[in-house]
Amino acid sequence: MLVIPTLFGAAALVFIMLRLIPGDVCEIRMAGDGGYFDQSAITACQEELGTNRPLLTQFVEFVWGLMRFDFGTSMWTGQPVIEEVALRFELSLQVAIMATIVGVIIAIPLGTISAVRQNTWIDYVVRGISIAGIATPAFWLGIMIILGLLMFTQHFLGAPWMPPITYRPIWEDPVYNLSMLIWPTVATGYRYSAVVTRMTRSALLEVLREDYVRTARAKGLWDKVIIRRHALKNALLPVVTIVGMEFAFLMGGLVVTEQVFNLNGVGKLFVDSVLNNDYTMTQSLVMLVVMIFVMVNFFVDICYAWLDPRIRYS
């Protein structure tokens, strides 16, 4: 499959990039704040982690491990990468799914209305809200949300309340889980819905001008029927693409939002391991994200084929 070269390319790219980043995980671990440290301890650490072996050896070991699904141990904590990532993956997945649901439920109707009533005040309002969603920095929005919650609850309920800062899976304690994840969902979902709304609108607009729609209109079919049967289905093609791309982005790209809400997710792990020069963890995370991207693309292609018979291919 054509996926293999992509994966190999990604593996090589991340390996090279990480080795170029200055800094050493052992130094960061041992250095403390300028106080006393033991140079031989650092050297011993490097021996143990294998960071002073020739690069080619390290690369071969990395790729060989990938092929056997052995992702190694984190250089920072010493625990197996899979264990470290599993929990974060669960959390990121939940936020991604929730944000997708929120985003899509809001976006498709809004985008449709906006396209059908192009250049009316509804269109302007929807476009204004959407662009605001894309323009507002996500972390600023998150900061304002938390601050707002604290101040609001203190003012009206007497005691300040903020979302929980530790994670419990949704099947263990749904109320707790949702009270924590609803806020990042809102902060992210706003931007997500904005992007999808715009795409829905422009895709629908394009389709509505197509010849076959004009023909159907000339024939006298109702607008609603035309939209629902013909236009929407074809407009969904680019919309599905963008939903897929945004979902893949949410799995690991939510770096800043996770920092703001203290979500123990893949994005936060990414930043931490890059800043700690934890090669094994970062490499594995990147491969994970690339795999997700490839899988989402594959899924989107299937949706394409289902939505538009013209595109079906073996």
Binding site: D24, G35, Y36, E84, Q259, N262, N264
Partner: protein, 539 residues
């Protein structure tokens, strides 16, 4: 005499620090049992072995699960001389044999969480791992125990430390919060076991870890300090962003954070919560400084280095920097409340600590002119990319040096690349620096200012045998007064006469916490007093 005045000042400060505490200084409250203490920690511990690691991010969540031989008195952590026994019996013993032998008696009732009773052999095995680790085992503070000749257990409940020479640096080194007692049986089977597992003899038993999320433990019902711990359990929650840690305390998702908050956060919390917040403050055993690179022109010229120091207004800076940053106290390279610290009058003799700022800066300009330094060039100032206090003090320092005509360009790097440059390539003219240590031990803490071939954390790349000689004499001196005199000499040569490195300000530890947390008292180090066995919740 200076020492009496110093001691009085220390007593006052200690009293103030205690008084700002939760009222338990007045002593009348009886601790209540029960409750779980939630506290926030800035980072994930990289490993669980206290002998190996050095970061406080490991100490805060994991220290409560282990015991040590002696420790700083948890009811008086701001003292630099008050050490008490943890698993030993009675008081910290006086040395015999001309100060070279220390004999400790071990309690008979210390049980490991796995059930076995602790004996002297466990203590000896742990210290052997710390001081003489076998091949492939890392011990971070190995060199600090250089004065120890042997550690033996003549019987099941006695441990004897024999030193090569008498040293009053020994007891503070022994009291370091990293010297955890492990089980000999476990070490014999797998010496690396404690790197990934937690099982000790401390007041709490480790129960659960959520990777990147939290670590929690429950009360140890067989704890040997009877009646303690008061808490049912502890939970250390990992929260990277400082602002989130502040918000967590405000929203009561956590009750306390053990590192320290900047002044603005303290003010916000006090304004928002009033009586529900208690603030404890203390001088921190951390200092921020800068180090000139002696291998770069013109900083190889002592006149230029002195000019750098003379340009900095430490007394005034303390005033306004303490409003926006976690620095405050003006001092030399010695912890200000230690018996060896120079007095204010002595400090004011050093270049850069003169009370007259105008005179300082005039002298700085004169020295720069005399040395012929190139003032049109913009020099490379390496700064670590952490806000508190590095970036803030760094920005301020650039401003200070500008006032005498020296132009610097700030190059801020995140921690990893920062160390790569500071330690690796050394491509900087001046670098920001810090000196953070655990138990206050001025003799060990000031080893940083020795020649570069003796101190691995000296980034100035210089050799100064005169400074080394003073230090060695000070280390061997047995009389505290003699040591204090030599310490001032050491200060003078490092900061003034040779201006090898410099010192700016001592950090200031501010811990605002929920008022229902009682029993915990602030000390000068965020590594120390984290056992949490005397903490209780007034709820």
């Amino acid at each position: 005499m200076q020492s009496n005045r110093m001691k009085a000042v220390c007593a006052v400060v200690a009293g103030v620090a205690l008084g700002l505490g939760a009222g338990s200084a007045t002593g009348a409250e009886t601790p209540k049992r029960g409750g779980v203490l939630n506290y926030v920690v800035p980072a994930e511990p990289p490993g669980f072995d206290g002998h190996r690691e050095s970061t406080f991010a490991m100490v805060h969540p994991i220290r409560p699960y282990y015991s040590v031989l002696i420790r700083v008195n948890p009811d008086n952590p701001s003292s630099t001389t008050d050490f008490v026994c943890d698993v030993c019996v009675g008081k910290v013993p006086e040395p015999t044999d001309d100060g070279k032998t220390y004999t400790f008696k071990i309690r008979g009732d210390v049980k490991f969480h796995s059930g076995e009773t602790m004996t002297a052999h466990d203590v000896v095995a742990s210290y052997h791992k710390i001081i003489w680790p076998p091949e492939g085992v890392r011990s971070h503070r190995k060199a600090m125990f250089g004065m120890i000749e042997s550690v033996t257990a003549p019987d099941d409940y006695t441990v004897v430390f024999k030193l090569k020479f008498a040293s009053n640096a020994f007891v503070p080194v022994l009291a370091m919060p990293f010297n955890w007692i492990y089980q000999k049986a476990v070490l014999d089977k797998d010496i690396h076991w404690y790197e990934k597992n937690i099982s000790g003899s401390g007041p709490f038993i480790f129960k659960e870890r959520q990777a990147g999320g939290f670590m929690r433990g429950d009360r140890n019902p067989n704890y040997y300090h009877k009646g303690q711990p008061y808490l049912d359990g502890i939970k250390a929650i990992i929260a990277n962003k400082q602002s989130l840690r502040v918000q967590a305390i405000r929203g009561d998702r956590a009750a306390i954070e053990f590192r320290g908050f900047p002044p603005a956060s303290r003010d916000d919390l006090v304004k928002a919560l009033g009586k529900e917040i208690t603030v404890q403050e203390s001088v921190w055993n951390c200092g921020i400084s800068y180090v000139p690179n002696h291998k770069r022109k013109p900083f190889d010229d002592v006149r230029v280095r002195r000019a750098l120091s003379l340009a900095v207004d430490r007394w005034g800076g303390s005033n306004y920097l303490s409003k926006i940053s976690i620095v405050k106290t003006v001092g030399g390279i010695t912890y200000p409340h230690s018996p060896l610290a120079p007095s204010k009058e002595q400090l004011q003799q050093l270049a850069g600590w003169w009370p007259d700022l105008k005179k300082s800066r005039a002298e700085a300009r004169r020295l720069l002119k005399e040395s012929g330094a190139d003032l049109s060039k913009s020099y490379y100032f390496l700064v670590r990319g952490v806000d508190q206090p590095y970036k803030i003090v760094g920005t301020w320092l650039v401003d200070q040096w500008k006032s005498v005509g020296l132009k610097f360009e700030q190059h801020t790097h995140p921690t990893g690349p920062f160390y790569a440059i500071q330690r690796g390539t050394k491509e900087f003219d001046v670098s920001i620096d810090a000196n953070c240590n655990s138990v206050v031990n001025p003799l060990v803490d000031t080893a940083k200012y020795l020649s570069a071939d003796r101190a691995s954390n000296n980034y100035g790349q210089y050799i100064d045998r005169d400074a080394d000689a003073i230090y060695d004499k000070m280390l061997r001196a047995t009389d505290v007064n003699e040591q204090r005199k030599l310490m001032f000499e050491y200060n003078k040569i490092t900061l003034d006469t040779h201006a090898n490195q410099s010192f700016v300000l001592w950090w200031h530890r501010i811990i605002p916490h929920r008022s229902y947390v009682k029993g915990w008292k602030i000390g000068p180090s965020h590594y120390v007093n984290q056992v949490l066995d005397n903490v209780w919740l007034d709820k």
